[in-house]
């Protein structure tokens, strides 16, 4: 929830598909991510870049967060992708296959150069990194703190599992360490933690089970590949009526204590301190996002 934004769902949209680019924001995901990388063939990289560039300059996507996954700077496409997206006013660049802090520093340098050329305020373009290898996981904290532009770190499980010489399982046993490492690094750095995609769009039960797991681990949300995955994930992240009631009481008790000039509040005989208040505030934010309570609360 870095920058006060919810990132429960980030919908992947292939960058060379005009129909999907035009419609992607209507389904209600928290973010849309236009992809110039793996979903675009080498022969169509130029066409996808030009299409997303024109779409961003023209289509009003409203309040939804727009992210573009560019090709790595180590390829012949990366630099052009970054320049095009910065010129188009893209708010967040997603770096694929991030392995070291230096990868982030190199990308930041390129973004800054593009911002100067385009007359965009320096630092305005944010970075989301995707970690997709064992080396990236080992360096997760260094990556998450390599630039003040970073808003989150995400796990890319397919490449990670290939690199680990294992395969993906329904239970996700092989991802326990990587997921925990990403959440801990993200929290230590004060940025968001985003989970990998759930590839089987027909298995809603599996998606819900996996979302419950990553929510419990501490993740802010998941990347998704189909609009059908939005409602089940938002459902898992929705606070219960009891949670909301309790959170409202905690916020009320904290307000009362602050008005009395006391730094410590109590509710039903239990101390209400800062972490309890922060959790309550997150419950309220989620509840507001899902219209479970009114905005003015």
């Amino acid at each position: 929830m870095e920058n006060g934004r919810l990132r429960r769902t980030m919908l992947f949209v292939p960058g060379n598909n005009p129909g999907m680019i035009a419609d992607a924001h209507i389904y209600g995901s928290d973010a849309v991510m236009f992809d110039l990388e793996d979903s675009v063939t080498l022969a169509e990289k130029d066409a996808a870049r030009m299409l997303v560039y024109n779409a961003l300059k023209t289509i009003d996507y409203g309040d939804i967060e727009i992210v573009v996954r560019v090709n790595p700077l180590s390829t012949e496409f990366g630099r052009d992708d970054i320049f095009a997206m910065v010129h188009a006013g893209c708010p967040v660049i997603r770096m694929p296959k991030t392995e070291t802090a230096q990868d982030v520093i190199d990308t930041e340098k390129c973004i800054e150069e593009a911002e100067r050329e385009a007359g965009v305020e320096i630092g305005k373009t944010k970075i989301l990194t995707a970690i997709e290898s064992a080396l990236g996981i080992v360096n997760a904290y260094a990556i998450a703190t390599a630039s003040p532009r970073i808003i989150g770190i995400a796990l890319g499980a397919e490449d990670y599992c290939a690199n680990l010489k294992t395969t993906r399982s329904a239970e996700g046993t092989e991802l326990f360490y990587a997921r925990s490492a990403i959440v801990v690094a993200a929290r230590a750095a004060g940025v968001d933690a985003l989970d990998t995609v759930y590839s089987n769009v027909n298995d809603t039960e599996g998606l819900i089970a996996q979302t419950k797991l990553i929510k419990q681990l501490g993740f802010d949300g998941k990347s998704i590949i189909n609009p059908r995955q939005i409602a089940p994930i938002h459902g898992v992240f929705a606070p219960s009526e009891t949670d909301i009631e309790k959170a409202l009481k905690i916020i009320g008790a904290a307000k009362e204590a602050a008005e009395r000039g006391s730094g410590v509040a109590s509710l039903n005989g239990k101390m209400v301190d800062k972490p309890v208040i922060m959790r309550a505030e997150r419950v309220i934010t989620l509840a507001k996002a899902m219209n479970l309570i009114k905005e003015e609360v």
């Binding site: 598909n17 005009p18 129909g19 999907m20 035009a22 130029d46 066409a47 030009m50 299409l51 560039y53 024109n54 779409a55 300059k57 023209t58 289509i59 320049f83 095009a84 910065v86 010129h87 593009a114 050329e117 385009a118």
Partner: protein, 93 residues
């Protein structure tokens, strides 16, 4: 932008437009359009194609367009990509 070969971009999928640009003996920008929405938007689509080709600096070209209900931003993207593919120049963002 100088066209040195034919340039093609786009697909025939819904919401897209396929553009082919060829150097021409004829003067000006000559657009030949097929569209699923030609009756309603044919004039506007031709106008966007022509304007984009002019912005690319193209002169004396034939443009063959097959539209499947594309938005203006898609038309601009596909015309520009086709022009770049037909030239040896780089786009200035």
């Amino acid at each position: 932008m100088k066209l040195v070969r034919n340039g093609v971009a786009g697909t025939l999928e819904s919401g897209d437009i396929m553009i082919e640009i060829r150097p021409s003996e004829k003067q000006g920008i000559n657009v030949e359009l097929q569209s699923t929405v030609a009756n309603l938007f044919g004039k506007q689509i031709k106008q966007v194609i022509t304007e984009t080709a002019e912005q690319c600096g193209l002169e004396n070209v034939d443009i063959i367009a097959n539209d499947k209900g594309s938005l203006d931003c898609t038309i601009r993207a596909r015309v520009t990509t086709a022009a770049l593919r037909g030239s040896d120049e780089k786009f200035k963002w």
